[in-house]
Symmetry: C2
Subunit: 466 residues, 2 copies
């Protein structure tokens, strides 16, 4: 299917929805925005041009067709949540530029890398430490951790063609599935998590704060992270069990890096400072975005990054546009009555089911529909509003529904080798064939659902979330 | 003065103003925003870090000190005028990427380059044609035209050390002063012009529309552009009067480029389309920003530029941040009553003067204060609001005051070799010494003031502007 075909499909869908009859309770512009939104989502799935370009054109159409006034169409670009993500990308740039991200990983490998299983845990822990300030799981798992894993594999003589099971397949799969869980754990550990929070705010009026999110995720998250390397170790046992060599590699790298340099120390200080402010945000009430922006400001003043680094951080501007555009559309659809109408319609169909059954059905359909998506963001944007409305429609306490769906929006990425940015990177490394990838993916999905529902639901009850 | 000293100066000014007593009629936050704004302006002048970084930190402080709510502090990034500039940067990228910008220049040189004076006019005309869609006068005069001039000089054997007066000094000075006038001619031909329009809207409630701006500038602008190469030709006569060689060079370059390629043709079509829509915006009432964004959308769909070009266009993101931040501050200062208070205070001092005299004095002080600025943007941000308030305070019709000051904000860049982005580029070429540069600059400033006041004022009367 070439770009012209894709554009035609998108255009036809746009036109059909544009001229649909307007349901009662929905504003006339609502159906127009829904047409633009649907075309955008189909665009995100078909990708005739990049994600950012598609959302950009969606924003343009929103203004051009007078569906929303220009100021409203652009409003996403001033959204504090969008700027939280932009800031986090810029903070992450500091980790990469100063080498602090690598240093953390190598220190942990040196400390815990004696056995293969310990090596995996130390890599997972490194990613976990970086995650609250690195919302691009692609940059984190793909950019920082993957190159380390890849060079460790070579050091152990584990290569994709001849010896994938020596240690490569194990490290790759354990890390990928850990990344998926880590992405679920913080509002700022995956780029589209704040989008889930925005949607939640629109639909339920609840603020999914940084602390609420982290508190809800910490117990099931740590549990998942503790089990995943172990389970993968049993399923795809590495031939090499002893991995002291990795400690030699880590030590060499640390030697090469030398003592922590001034920018690295400052970067570590700013990161801890931002993290402390985030964690305490319930007390001082300073917005998390303001704190993140302040962190970036400090990085600029202390010269950890310069302005040219900021402008070159394409990921930040990409996220600003696609995320800002989607936030604007999601808000508009809600305001114009579309989401409520959808939720009501579907809820009516399943309202005869008992609440618990209806909720679990909703969650499972939401989770496994990710087989059809190549991006967590597309999935969240397209389905979260409706599934959240449905879950609440069948009687689920709103915060429970919101958190469960938000976490599931990340956990569902375990399923395929195209589920989220790092998936193709880890899969393309070539250590694991597709059938194994999907099998393991399905098993881990079951494990995660058991943990996050079985332990999560009662734990959130304890937290007072429902 | 190193970066630490600069930061200390900025910080001291910030603290002093922060704790000043609040004048009556000004909100308490007004004086705080004024402290942040003043520190930002001093920052733009001292440049301890890049312009964008300074404004970014200003935005952060606005939110962090709770001077404005976070959403308001970020509001500039959703400002339609800011996105007009972002779009124009992206459209300009298409000119550069497809080679269309160069082709226009070479075609004009081939057509009119027989004599040195004709060569200069053809270069000026090229820049004029590109200008409505190229708000960065640095990219336009520095990025597209300068390399052509420089290679023509070499083709004529005019080099900075041995033979600057052969043709180099003439072409350089004529083009630089033409660039200054061209920058004044369209809302979209200089990056900070929309800022002047925003400030005007805040203070007078008047919309300086694209068409109003262009209509007001076209007569005095064409007059200035017609005279400048001629005047420079008399003042710094080139030794080479015949320049047919330039036509050979242009012809060779056009041969090298071959026939217009598909992307170039599409780019030309989109540019003309956008221009027509801009010119007719009074009739169809579609916002100029929407039109520009639509142009960018078409460029993406037709593949003239791709999304990676968009994300790599650092100038666009730089402008979005510094411009968005300054727009936010300028709006805030007005809303909080600071500007009115300032204007009233100064007007009181000069209100005993006759109106015409007071107005001319105001305009001249505004113009020649540019000796103290290294950027049109800094000058506009720092002084335009107050001078506009003063000009209106002494009884000038608002639209007249706004247009005169807006045009003067560009024309004042003739004065020095650091007045605006292209100035150091053209000066550093080395064909003109500093004393000559300043002398010519002063003469041209007088010429421009005579034209834009002597012809401009009566012409604007005819236009019904006052």
């Amino acid at each position: 299917m070439n770009i012209i075909h894709k554009l035609i499909i998108i255009f036809v869908i746009f036109i059909i929805i544009w001229f649909l009859p307007v349901p009662s309770g929905v504003e006339p512009e609502g159906i127009h925005l829904f047409a633009i939104f649907s075309a955008t989502i189909i665009g995100l799935i078909l990708k005739p041009i990049s994600m950012g370009g598609i959302v950009f054109i969606g924003v343009v159409l929103t203004a051009l067709t007078d569906t929303l006034p220009l100021r409203d169409a652009l409003s996403g670009f001033a959204n504090p949540t969008v700027w939280l993500i932009v800031s986090a990308f810029l903070i992450a740039r500091g980790f990469i530029k100063t080498g602090l991200g690598k240093r953390v990983a190598f220190i942990l490998i040196k400390a815990f890398g004696r056995k293969s299983i310990g090596l995996s845990y130390s890599l997972v822990m490194s990613e976990f430490i970086l995650s609250p300030a690195m919302p691009s799981n692609t940059a984190r798992a793909g950019g920082i951790i993957y190159p380390i894993i890849r060079s460790l594999c070579s050091a152990f003589g584990s290569e994709p063609e001849k010896s994938p099971r020596k240690i490569g397949a194990f490290l790759i799969l354990a890390q990928y599935h850990a990344d998926v869980v880590i992405s679920a754990m913080f509002l700022t550990s995956m780029a589209a998590n704040p989008l889930a929070a925005e949607i939640t705010k629109n639909i339920t009026g609840l603020e999914l704060q940084w602390t609420t999110w982290a508190l809800g995720a910490i117990v099931p998250g740590i549990l998942s992270l503790s089990l995943i390397p172990l389970v993968i170790y049993k399923l795809i046992p590495p031939e090499i069990k002893e991995s002291s060599k990795s400690r030699v590699v880590a030590d060499e790298e640390l030697q090469k890096m030398g003592k922590m340099k001034r920018p690295e120390i400052i970067m570590a200080g700013i990161f801890i400072f931002v993290l402390l402010f985030w964690i305490t945000s319930n007390f001082h009430k300073i917005n998390v975005t303001t704190i993140a922006l302040f962190g970036v400001g400090l990085m600029l003043i202390f010269g950890v990054i310069n302005w040219s680094d900021v402008l070159s951080e394409k990921g930040a501007w990409d996220a600003m546009i696609w995320f800002g555009g989607l936030v604007m559309m999601a808000g508009g659809l809600y305001n114009l009555g579309i989401i409520e109408w959808f939720g009501d319609t579907i809820s009516n169909y399943i309202s005869y089911l008992p609440m618990t059954f209806a909720l679990i059905l909703t969650l499972l359909i939401y989770f496994y529909s990710h087989y059809g998506f190549a991006s967590m963001t597309a999935h969240i944007t397209a389905l979260l509003p409706v599934f959240l409305a449905v879950a609440i429609g069948v009687g689920t306490p709103p915060l429970l529904a919101a958190l469960a769906l938000a976490y599931f929006s990340n956990l569902n990425a375990s399923l395929t080798h195209y589920a989220t940015g790092p998936a193709p990177i880890y899969f393309n490394a070539g250590f694991v064939d597709q059938i194994t990838w999907w099998k393991i993916g399905f098993l881990i999905s079951v494990l995660n659902i058991i943990i996050w529902v079985g332990i999560g639901f009662p734990y959130w009850k304890l937290c007072g979330f429902w």
